[in-house]
Amino acid sequence: MTLELREMVFIATALLTTLPALLVVFSRNILYSAFALFFTFLGTSGLYFFLGAEFLAITQVVVYIGGVSVILLFAILLTRDIDEIKKTNTMSLGRAVPGGVAVLAISAVFIYAIGETKWAASGDETGVPALTVKPLGDLLLNKYLFAFEVVSVLLLAVLIGSLVIARRSVK
């Protein structure tokens, strides 16, 4: 594949990630925000593909689009005053100032991280493994075994916690 095409696809993917993200933040309709988040997740998954992390990219779609965004949509549909949905993302000075400070702080961290990372030259894929699932499986079952088992405990806690909260709201 040529470099230009690769760059074109990359820019398109980056725009697919960022433009809906802006809509998520600024849209007055909470449902538009939720659907825009879907495209942001899709774009993020595309960016993972660019990094050669195919398994992460697929997981992003399965978990975030299939799971998280559906939960978000269900949660919105469950809200009581569904006709009041246009009341989100209102702007005020009291919220804009702390928000702006947080944005500056986070971007400073990101810029620092980008500067510190040793990036491989574009087109150089020697350091990138061709397959990511198998090495990941090896690492999970050997080096990070403890983390792997702790995850199951975490999932158990999530399962029980979510049921407790949901059941309480019913009764």
Binding site: L31, Y32, E54, I65, G66
Partner: protein
């Protein structure tokens, strides 16, 4: 890792000539990929058309009617007439609908359905792209579909559409888990997510297929097939469209071409899922030869074998629709969460034990020498 894709071949075939003619390379690359895409989209459309015809004819036979018989011999080109009719219909967007989301939803549904076709091995070397993550890709596609259905249901601003969208979302996500777990039983055997490799490690004869690899993969096939019925919103799991309650479900407000996009997606996915079931469990287009070393006529024979397995599966799906009553929604959920998920987990664990005990071999299937 070898690259198996039709687009690469087209690129190799034409790159020298085209570059000599001064066509820029990016255009050539896009064209090389767009050609298989167009072929596959048309194939899906054709398959969807033929399946609507088959559905009408089979339902007619089952209910002792005659069915479509006016357009063409035996009504064979009825689906073309239907297509033209839908094409000429007025495009109605209700006043109360959310216009932007209403227009966007069909594209999400169509493009995610077509995406699944990328990884379908049509036999021989005919596969658009043999992704390393092919099998998970199927599950990804159904996640995308959920959002499309919810979007169309919400945007229509119609009670039935919204109910249909929500029902279909709950149903698809529930049955995604058994689908994934039953596919994992096969991944345990092959150790790869690539669909082409999965097909190549089976054989021509039924005892070389993964469905007969061990008793648990036999169960896994049925779990996959029934869960797939639920993911496609087919009877006995057709709550999202339940004609007698919700008229048509999430697409009730759609008309003309927008409706037909949903329709193509629905019947196209019957074809795609049948093809995947055939490839993963029933040996796909494998006739015991290496598809990449065989001459073209043998490859076409492999395609024939693939279709010979896919079409009966499609017909079974139609047959089930006209023979089974619809479940109740609580029965559907109980069936998934209390039966399918535990059984699928048990199958996975049992397959793992089987592979450990028999050193990776099946009843008849033998682990290829490394």
């Amino acid at each position: 890792m070898e690259q198996y894709s039709a687009a690469e071949k087209i690129y190799e075939l034409f790159s020298e000539k085209a570059l000599a003619l001064g066509i820029p390379e990016p255009v050539l690359v896009i064209a090389a990929y767009a050609i298989p895409c167009l072929v596959v989209i048309n194939l899906i459309q054709g398959a969807a058309g033929m399946l609507t015809y088959a559905e009408r004819k089979i339902s007619a036979d089952i209910q002792n009617r005659i069915g479509a018989n006016r357009v063409g011999p035996f009504g064979l080109i009825q689906f073309l007439a239907d297509g033209v009719k839908l094409f000429l219909k007025e495009d109605i967007i209700p006043d109360a609908a959310d216009r932007k989301l209403f227009k966007l939803a069909p594209y999400i549904v169509l493009s995610s359905t077509v995406l699944a076709a990328i990884v379908v091995p049509f036999g021989g070397s005919f596969i658009v792209a043999d992704l390393n993550i092919g099998l998970i890709f199927i599950i990804v596609v159904s996640s995308l579909l959920v959002v499309g259905f919810l979007m169309s249901g919400w945007a229509s601003n119609n009670k039935w559409a919204l109910l249909g969208g929500i029902r279909s979302a709950a149903q698809i996500i529930s049955y995604e888990i058994p689908t994934a777990l039953s596919l994992l039983c096969i991944v345990l055997i092959t150790g790869t997510f690539s669909l082409q490799e999965t097909v190549m490690s089976q054989g021509l004869w039924p005892w070389q297929w993964f469905i007969f690899h061990n008793p648990f993969s036999f169960v896994a096939f049925f779990i996959f097939f029934v869960s797939a019925l639920a993911e496609m919103n087919r009877t006995p799991f057709d709550f999202p469209e339940a004609e007698s309650e919700l008229v048509s479900g999430y697409n009730v407000e759609y008309s003309g071409m927008r409706f037909s996009i949903f329709f193509i997606a629905e019947y196209g996915s019957i074809f795609i899922i049948s093809g995947l079931a055939a490839a993963v469990f029933l040996g796909g287009g494998n006739i015991g030869l290496d598809p990449y070393e065989s001459p073209l006529h043998m490859q076409l024979l492999m395609v024939g074998v693939f279709f010979a397995k896919t079409v009966p599966l499609c017909l079974v799906i139609i047959w089930v629709r006209w023979s089974m009553p619809r479940l109740r929604i609580d029965q559907m959920l109980t069936m998934c969460w209390k039966y399918f998920i535990p059984i699928a987990f048990a199958c996975l664990v049992a397959t793992a034990i089987w592979l450990l005990v028999f050193n990776g071999n099946g009843i008849f299937w033998r682990m290829p020498a490394p």
